[in-house]
Symmetry: C2
Subunit: 394 residues, 2 copies
């Protein structure tokens, strides 16, 4: 008799909680009479095309509990964007393993992959239920209140900026500034989150620069000078994707590559944090430091948020319920009904829309000076990131 | 009647646990019949010279408990190295506040300060008992098994390298290397500590470069290539103070300053991590990232080690017991009597020796290739840093 199997993969940049979603899929599929076996793709769609599937159906409860406390993508990940010529190969593998339920945990490129695979199968007369599970630390997915993975990465930024801010305050006679560069190329959610660390005007962070706002070097230097004169030191948070008015990345280096093009970003060995550091040094005779954390905040399971792990798990469970209930072409989404007490429900968003749209920080979440967030943003984020520690003041 | 007061300050770079030592001094002094009031110096010896003292005698038990969970130097710190002309001013303030017990929590420069103040007072016929309390994340203080603050900073490096290593393994189809730059300019203890993260040969970190070993660019690139061919990816840890055979810092930039000198290090907007990243990119056609954590690992109270907080507290208590018992010119030191079970006692080291000597990683703690640590080092460090989490493998 024909089997009805499921397959799940983890795609794009990892988070601390993406394995919770995976555990949700495995446990729900294993407990569903509609699903025979549940397979995992090694390295996402790349592994599927290479027929590198692993049977996840009989994993022990102990292993699955451990999986929920394991950061990153235990199946391995990929950033491969599928092309039309990939589709027949994908269908061949799905048929070979009698797969009728198709799950990917990822961001908008991933949702596009599910959308295209699901549509192609339909066109070819092969029944496939494809459901997406949201994931990205960047929080820029359309159609959901927030994305699993964002709260934990946000908390990591908050703890970093809060604690290094205490140190910068205590060391103000030596170093006068600390620059914290957060990931977030196109959207400022993660940089903005650091604002939660600040409970009093004099505390870190004083200034936050987001990719949604055009960066102006002179305004930046004026902001820095003003904070140092007011507080004695300054804590600066910046997103990695800042740009000047003409579209030049702030991470642009002074050097050019072998073709004579200006180099920029991490791949050229420069970064926004480093360039802001140079701007301050060039203008003022001050000491300070810059911190570049990159994927450290995407993998810090020891700093993850309970709520985030629970929601990520729940999104995995819901995806299986939706697919086995006959839904396809959708992503599980989180809908918030209340801030205090925090309450959410789970809904769906069409894959086609999620794949095409993005969700930058809305203007009302950014102050008019473009160098910090508003109270509205803080109301949005506070329920997501857990309590922050209180420290002694002598 | 003449008072016998005490003063305490926190000097040099902070740690996560230096406030535990401060709490130990305050509680022990407050409970000692030999001490009247206990004062704190704002910003260490700088604040003392400015007569910026704060009375810490009547702090509540609640505040002191909170202090033990507060990272960095709650009194404020300084890197001021005292000069002979500072000494009369210091003596004047000590006399004014009837201070007979003098404590500083710090590294070797700090021990030199206590030594000089204590000697000058003796020469001037003013009775002063000066005792040092060890502190430095760098672990390079002479005369003690390890320094309070090091275990917690080491644990932060271990967690960072461990968890980002899981991510790098899962993302090996996209990024092939991850470079983690640790603080530690002259001594490699903190970079070396990251080795605890590796429980299997294929796990992070694969390569560790320490300032105690001359850096060779070609050997480095060969090491990187060999790891990538063996494991598919590579995790690299580097100390910030690496040097080439001719003494040039590896952090040297391609640019020169306005006087025509080669610039190097964070203050020139370059760093070792960034330069290793450029070396790999220039040689191999690979993607990867570099992480620069700087003071983040000195302030991460949420990742501090219980043992470290307890020992830091105990060092503060012992300093007061020593001084009120008539000792002077010494630093409290930790003497380990056993690795398993871990056992320590508290002794003393002469300030003059601690001030003059340093403690780089001994050669037997570094492998013969100079790109990792030995089992002997792991036996030394494992009892200090607590358990590391275990993760699921699918």
């Amino acid at each position: 008799m024909e089997k009805r199997n499921a397959v799940v993969g983890q795609s794009g940049g990892p988070t601390s909680v993406i394995n919770c979603s995976l555990a949700g899929v495995i446990e729900t599929a294993a407990g569903s009479s509609a699903v025979d076996r549940v397979y995992g793709m090694r390295f996402a769609i790349e592994g599927l095309m290479e027929d590198r599937l692993v049977d996840l159906s009989d994993k022990s409860a102990d292993l699955l509990d451990k999986l929920k406390r394991t950061p990153s993508s235990a199946l391995g990940s990929s950033r491969h964007k599928i092309q039309d010529p990939d589709l027949p190969k994908i269908l061949e593998i799905l048929k070979k393993h009698e797969i009728r339920y198709f799950f990917l945990i990822g961001g908008n490129d991933t949702m596009d992959t599910i959308h295209r695979v699901e549509r192609y199968c339909r066109e070819q007369g092969y029944e496939l239920f494809g459901v997406g599970i949201p994931k990205t630390v960047d929080n820029d997915l359309f159609g959901t209140d927030h994305t699993p993975g964002f709260p934990s990465a946000a908390r990591c930024n908050i703890l970093n900026v809060l604690q290094a801010g205490i140190l910068a305050r205590d060391m103000q006679r030596v170093d006068r500034y600390v620059i914290y560069q957060s990931i977030g190329r196109d959207a400022g959610w993660l940089s903005a989150a650091a604002a939660v660390a600040r409970r009093d005007e004099a505390e870190a962070p004083h200034l936050i620069y987001l990719p949604e706002v055009v960066f102006d070097r002179e305004r930046f230097l004026t902001d820095v000078e003003s904070c140092i004169s007011r507080y004695g030191w300054v804590s600066i948070v910046c997103g990695e994707g800042l740009q000047y008015a003409d579209g030049t990345p702030v991470s642009a280096s002074d050097t050019t590559d072998k073709f004579g093009n200006v180099e920029f970003g991490a791949m050229a060995g420069t970064s926004v944090g480093l360039n802001l550091h140079r701007m301050i040094m060039d203008r003022f005779d001050l000491r300070g430091e810059f911190q570049i954390t990159e994927s450290l905040i995407m993998s810090a399971m020891d700093r993850s948020v309970d709520l985030d792990r629970r929601e990520a798990y729940e999104c995995g469970c819901r995806a299986v319920q939706l697919a086995t209930g006959g839904s396809s072409g959708v992503m599980v989404s989180i809908a918030r009904s209340s801030d205090a007490p925090y309450r959410v429900g789970y809904k769906t968003a069409p894959l086609s829309e999620v794949a095409e749209k993005s969700k930058p920080m809305p203007r009302e979440y950014i102050n008019s000076e473009g160098n910090f967030v508003t109270e509205e943003f803080l109301e949005y984020i506070r329920p997501l990131v857990g309590e922050t520690p209180e420290f002694a003041v002598l």
